[in-house]
């Protein structure tokens, strides 16, 4: 019984949190931002990889106010690196970004996932 109570009050496991974020991102990409069901929910972030210079630069168009960390992933979902939001400047730019970055996840101060971004190439 004690175990049951602990589980009921527990928070999401990291894998569950990631799956929930993916669900919310897919819902946004289908043009649905909640509202009717629960709170208005926008988790998609936008970024582009500027390949025009001698090294790729990741430029994030907008970040949530509580964003603290950015995690970069390639197409296979392998983590490529992390960056603190405070070091990115305004607008947030990440120089020398990996050229194969495809998606980014954004975490808040509690390490909760709060946004998901697809990276375009320019």
């Amino acid at each position: 019984m004690a175990k049951k109570i602990r589980r009921t009050l527990s928070k999401l496991e990291p894998e569950q949190q990631e799956l929930q974020l993916q669900f919310r991102a897919l819902r946004n990409a289908l043009g649905n931002f909640g509202g009717r069901v629960g709170r208005r929910d926008v988790v998609l972030a936008s970024g582009h990889l500027d390949m025009s210079g001698h090294a790729p630069e990741l430029v994030l168009d907008a970040l949530p106010a509580d964003a603290r960390k950015i995690v970069l992933f390639d197409a296979a979902g392998t983590e490529l690196g992390r960056a603190k939001v405070s070091g990115l400047g305004t607008p947030p730019k990440l120089p020398n970004a990996p050229g194969n970055v495809v998606t980014v996840q954004i975490r808040d101060g509690n390490r909760d996932l709060i946004a998901f971004g697809l990276v375009r190439r320019t």
């Binding site: 928070k11 649905n32 697809l118």
Partner: protein, 450 residues
């Protein structure tokens, strides 16, 4: 897709939610766009891969979306044509003049630079078509193009009529991704019913508009129809509701079984993937959900047609009210549960995509369907609660009744999980196999049509 296009006009990265006023304006922009641009835009979006290329989907394995990811590039227009002479040029910019025109060569079309923009699941198309919207809109377009029995249209309405007829009621341009009628399958409405029957083992609740002999959409499908889909879906919703009800239990028994919920997701996913082997039905799904999204967008807001036919429902109304107002003009009454069907259609796609991608099969992941788990925004259980409410209201299926005895007593519905192993064939203790329900295997009666 066209509903997504209306949202992309305000937010090309879908990073903000447009206001209702923006969406009304954007819907007008979509309907004012030349049909050849819209047709080409569909080819551009298809070529980006949709859910098959969406990041986060499992690479390969049993959960591969669309049956085979290669189906998209193999059926897409070659990039040299798509990006050059067959570009859509859709990129309207403020102040959004009508028609929106053709964007210069360098810029890419809305949604194309987004990445792999996913489209709705085929179940979305089925649910929206259950409202009778295609028949109503077809009759509206027909009446406008052959006579003057409907209220006088303005230019915006006439453009909508032209675009609707060009895009959905005539043969599409040759070699277009939406070109699904041919000498071999000439009827678009029969083709759609065929796809719904194969994927979900369901018929639309109303008869076809054209006179047909029997149910031709079921001919030659062989055993390739998912007749267990609705049974499994009902059971999944029932089990999810048990989980939602007992989520905050801290004492006493908790009948929730995450393993069984995961098993049901696995079973539904396997059924759906079975129909997609090799990429089967991918093109049909894309064409049908894009068509239904056009009509859904038409009644989602007080658009030009809605205003012309005085079928407004204002900001607090819903698509079903507008559809009923339009249907009044042509003597077709939508089913009384059209409101639920529209809202269900709006929220069901991500759930079914995740099920098909095998993402809810593991018990900890299946828990996400009903447990809030202290998350800041428990999107999935909120969506599932709404789906349960709407499904029960729309179909009359008592998914919130967890009493097994009640369900068995009705005789028709059987739990997906058998309560006992079957004994010898013909045993008097076994229920007799019901006769094949011919016209409406989904159990819904046809709506009245005048």
């Amino acid at each position: 897709m066209f509903r997504t296009l209306a949202r992309l006009i305000s937010a090309p990265g879908l990073t903000t939610a447009p206001t209702p006023a923006e969406l009304v304006r954007n819907a007008g922009v979509v309907f004012a766009t030349h049909p050849i641009q819209l047709s080409r835009w569909l080819d551009e979006i298809w070529a980006n891969g949709g859910i098959a290329a969406w990041p986060g989907t499992p690479p390969g394995g049993p959960g591969l979306a669309l049956g085979d990811a290669d189906i998209v590039p193999r059926l897409a227009l070659p990039a040299g044509l798509r990006d050059d002479t067959l570009r859509s040029g859709i990129r309207p910019t403020p102040p959004f003049p009508l028609p929106p025109g053709f964007a210069p060569a360098i810029s890419r079309a809305l949604g194309v630079d987004f990445g792999p923009l996913p489209w709705e699941h085929l179940f979305y198309g089925f649910l929206v078509e259950c409202t009778g919207i295609v028949d109503i809109m077809a009759e509206v377009v027909r009446r406008y193009v052959v006579g003057e029995t409907l209220p006088t249209p303005n230019v915006d309405t006439l453009v909508w009529i032209r675009n609707t007829e060009e895009l959905f009621f005539r043969d599409p341009p040759l070699f277009h991704i939406g070109g699904l009628t041919s000498q071999l399958r000439p009827s678009a409405e029969i083709n759609r019913r065929n796809a719904y029957w194969r994927a979900f083992g369901c018929d639309l609740p109303h008869p076809p508009r054209s006179k047909v002999d029997g149910q031709p959409w079921k001919r030659d499908t062989g055993s390739g129809a998912n007749t267990r889909f609705i049974e499994l879906w009902n059971e999944l919703l029932r089990q999810v509701w048990i989980g939602i009800e007992n989520d905050t239990n801290q004492v006493g028994a908790n009948p929730t079984d995450s393993t069984y919920v995961g098993y049901l997701c696995q079973s539904i996913g396997e059924l759906l993937r079975l129909r997609r082997r090799g990429g089967t039905l991918a093109r049909e799904e894309y064409a049908y959900v894009t068509m239904l999204s056009w009509f859904h967008l038409t009644v989602e807001f007080d658009t030009a047609l809605v205003n012309t036919l005085s079928a407004q429902a204002t900001g607090v109304g819903n698509p079903a009210d507008r559809l009923a107002g339009i249907g009044n003009h042509v003597g077709i009454t939508p089913p009384r549960h059209a409101r639920e069907l529209f809202e269900l259609a709006d929220i069901v796609s991500p759930v079914l995509w995740f099920i098909e991608l095998d993402l809810f099969t593991q018990a900890p992941n299946a828990e996400l369907l009903y447990r809030r788990l202290g998350g800041a925004n428990p999107a999935i259980p909120l969506v599932m609660t709404r789906i349960v409410d709407l499904w029960q209201s729309a179909t009359g299926e008592p998914v919130k009744d967890q009493a097994v005895a009640v369900r068995l007593a009705k005789g028709a519905a059987r739990a997906a999980q058998p309560v006992r192993l079957p004994t010898a064939t013909g045993s008097p203790s076994l229920p007799q196999t019901p006769a094949r329900a011919e016209p409406s295997p989904n159990g819904r009666s046809a709506p009245s049509r005048v």
